[in-house]
Amino acid sequence: MGISIERKFTEQIRPSRAVFLKWPYGHPLGEPGAVRQQRAVMEQAFRLLETATEPGIIVDLPFAWRRQAYE
């Protein structure tokens, strides 16, 4: 299960499952100290793990960089 911030590379490597965030390099889980944000990304990764029924799915997460509220 992978978290991707460079979709092109992920498409070529073809991992079994990945979630993609269009976020800056060095920030696959988000911002420092942003516990809810980091949890939200991991939760989405876990959900894909639970729901994926075929290999190669890349889910584009809808989280906007620095403009997203997390519960």
């Binding site: 070529q12 073809r14 876990f46």
Partner: protein, 169 residues
């Protein structure tokens, strides 16, 4: 000097992500024709999870990744489950890790994984986690794929790992 210029380029790429993506477009990374598949065999609440990252994390005091070789360092470092974030550091000149230096969970979410395990969302935290330095080129790729990755896979198997969560830098 070249280490300094690599770090400066990394900072520019973080400040201007579109520039990084344009640069990445010219890179031809490894590619595969097929996708591996192992279905999840039990509820996540019963699964043991291990982290692996290419963000260059390792324990303080351990030998850092080799930045002198421009083709990268294909070796890995083990992070024990009990490691505190203060005991973990990053050696990697090819991305801007100043934010990850402040909170390593940004690239290596060990604290978050412990919380998910404590809350029962995942079954447990594996005893060992893995740091790689994700700038591996040319002849180092074969060593990475043929020697280092199988070792990590075997260690995960020995530890009864059900799920590997892989994060970039």
């Amino acid at each position: 000097m070249s280490r300094l210029s690599n770090r400066l380029i990394a900072r520019v790429f973080t400040a201007f992500p579109w520039l990084a993506r344009r640069a990445a477009a010219s890179v031809v990374p490894m590619s595969y024709e097929t996708t591996p598949w192992t279905p999840l065999k039990k509820p996540l609440s019963e699964c043991r999870v291990s982290l692996a990252t290419t963000a260059g994390v390792h324990m303080r005091g351990e030998s850092p990744f080799n930045m002198a070789d421009t083709t990268g360092d294909p070796t890995f470092r083990v992070i024990p489950a009990a490691a505190t974030t203060g005991e973990i550091m990053i050696t990697h000149d090819y991305y801007d890790h100043r934010d990850a230096d402040r909170d390593v969970n940004v690239v290596f979410p060990l604290d978050r994984l412990r919380e998910f395990a404590a809350g029962g969302r995942v079954g447990g935290v594996a005893s060992r986690h893995y740091g790689f330095m994700g700038h591996i080129l040319e002849n180092q790729i074969d060593r990475f794929v043929d020697r280092e990755i199988p070792r990590v896979a075997a260690m995960m198997k020995d530890d009864g790992v059900d799920v590997a969560l892989i994060t970039p830098g």
